[in-house]
């Protein structure tokens, strides 16, 4: 099995350790991992802001880079960026020459937990993490991808991890890309509601499959003096001892 890594730009630049854990987890499962080095961003910031021409420009570059490589799947440690390519590339290229290209690539771009559970058929990675955690499912992963149970299945097998329920877990964290800076007060209030639920759950760890949601929630958690541990799913699956 050969997988081409799609590392979102903010993971590349801010959270490279998430990319590293992704590589380690995939290799542990016997996957031959390649990293198409010309990759930059999927174009989602422009797309979400309504700048479709600019999003298409970036998306074309993405298609060029990944089409050059040979692989079975593209694997991405982000439900949101996966959705951009798998769902919204066909949407922005509708009726254009790139539509076919986008449609060919789309089904082969898979979010990490989706790839591990549904493509590789594995749930137990032999990981070990001591803590009481809640899992936040990013909205694209929940609604567009429908990859809701896979992270839970994977986390359920992690030794020492107590996965807790939390109130209104389906609510958005308030990030929303440029929304977080265009409407900062509402965005922050949304984060506060999540944090209130997190506190109530008694969790000491927050896990998500999207580093963007984690950047939002961690940013607010640190600012409000919390010491919650904030980890990407890949990092937990890559854990081998007490954190």
């Amino acid at each position: 099995m050969k997988a081409a890594l799609f590392i979102p730009c903010y993971v590349d630049q801010i959270y490279p350790e998430v990319g590293v854990s992704t590589v380690r987890v995939l290799r542990k499962l016997g996957v031959d991992v390649i990293y198409p080095e010309g990759q930059t961003c999927c174009g989602q910031p422009a797309f979400n802001s309504g700048f479709l021409d600019e999003a298409r420009g970036v998306a074309r570059h993405f298609l060029d880079v990944f089409e050059k490589e040979s692989f079975d799947y593209t694997v991405c440690p982000s439900g949101s960026c996966t959705t951009m390519v798998s769902h919204y590339y066909p949407f922005i290229f509708e009726g254009s020459t790139e539509e076919r290209r986008a449609e060919v690539l789309a089904p082969r771009v898979r979010e990490l937990s989706d790839f591990i559970v549904n493509v590789l058929g594995v749930t137990d990675l032999g990981a070990r993490y001591e803590g009481k955690a809640v899992f936040h499912c990013g909205c694209h992963q929940r609604r567009e991808l429908g990859v809701l149970n896979e992270p839970q299945e994977l986390l359920g097998e992690v030794e020492g991890l107590d996965l807790l329920d939390w109130e209104n877990e389906e609510l958005c964290c308030g990030f929303g890309g440029t929304f977080s800076v265009k409407m900062p007060d509402v965005s922050t209030a949304m984060a506060d509601e999540k944090i209130k639920a997190l506190e109530k759950s008694g969790a000491d760890t927050l896990i998500s499959g999207d580093s963007s949601c984690l950047m939002q929630l961690a940013g607010r958690l640190w600012r409000t003096g919390h010491d919650t541990r904030v980890l990407h799913l890949a990092q937990v699956l890559d854990s081998e001892g007490s954190a």
């Binding site: 590293v20 080095e37 930059t40 970036v58 640190w222």
Partner: protein
Amino acid sequence: METRKPTHERDTEDHRREGIASPVEGFNERGKKAVQDRELHDAVELFTNKSVAVRNAALHALPDAPELRERAYHIKQQTMANLDEYLAQMADAVEARGGNVFFADDGEDVTRYIGELARRRGARIITKSKSMATEEIELNRRLEEDYADLDLEIVETDLGEWIAQLSGDTPSHIIGPILHLNLRQITEILSEAAGEKLPPDVEALTKFARERLREKFLAADIGITGANFGVAETGTIATVTNEGNGRLVATVPSVHVVVMGIEKLVPRFEDLSTFVQLLARSATGQKLSVYTNFVTGPRGEGELDGAEEFHLILLDNGRSNLLGTEFEEALYCIRCGACLNVCPVYRQTGGHAYGSTYSGPIGAVITPLLKGDEEAKDLPHASSLCGACSEACPVGIPLHELLLKLRSRQVDEGLAGKAQEIAFKGFETTMKSPALYNISTKTGRAVQKPLTKDGSVRPLPGPLGGWTKSRDLPPLAEKSFRELWKDGLRDG
């Protein structure tokens, strides 16, 4: 102790100018105020949590809910594709039953029609049941202003709408117009209307409302209702209510006027079985609303109830411009409020922050479509695009995708502003070129050094200031993933 201003006196400027006819700029500023209002927050949270829970339970109990949703979508799609024919059919059916039909372009047309009707009938008291279409055109204000000589007394009879009217407030939710008020605030408003101090007790307050409203029901000269659905083949107007006020408004006065948005049509009577099931479940979690009324024209010969005169006003107000466009699905809305209840933005701000008759996701979609993009520039951005609205919509409107399309239309119209245009051009140029990407990220790392303290970026000016004001911002890593890959990760 500091006393708070009651919510109904909150300074959101002149509430009466907040209908669809007024500009709705400033979501951000109003949202900022709203999220600081704890009383408002608690009231909205209570209502939306409960609404979502009962709706989920009601829909889960309906095994064919997904099929119903699909059917509803297709009926609406078919209706919009042939709307002109169905409207003509509806008008013919109403006229055949002895009713009058008037096609109104906008609120001014509606006001003139009803104002002249009131003049001809020598009307003094008009009762109204809940109608978002008349809120949209600010009918009450217009009638009071344009027909001041008639000295009309216009009384909202839905309990929530009446309380909003008494306090000079506007509805903040399609289904729960005063969900933003709590018992203490409502007691104050009703006590003022009663001229005496009423106890903060729901039963006592509703008793007062019933007594006061009953007088108006019986004395009214004209009753105005909205329409949840209009059936083209029979000319029937269907309204659902939980208070029974709609029935008293439609049948007690000698004149019944229906103001209905043209998109409320369904082709056949049997289509109602699909929509009535979905509406009640999605709106209030009921299998069926307490009262489902069907009115077909005025009182016929030998019939016991119904008005002497029946007028159906079919309101366009910008709706027909959406037919056949990529935004047509916005017309499929049945005004159940489910998208408001699940919206994480609405949960934080309540409805008034939207500054429009229609709030929440559907409000953010429909307001710019009806008023124009320039008039409601903020609203398509008042969303994190989480998609909860699209998931909840009982007729399958892809609300968050329509918001995206509206954002894109703003860009095409040049409404996004020069700063954003330059920023996203730069974004495209950079992201299309791995070399530029590398240079800019390295520059970023150099620039952030003096700005970083204790592992976070210090508060920044400019667009990122919105972030750093309330949240820590992580700095760029010393080594990016691609560098780590090259430095040995590649080789295992």
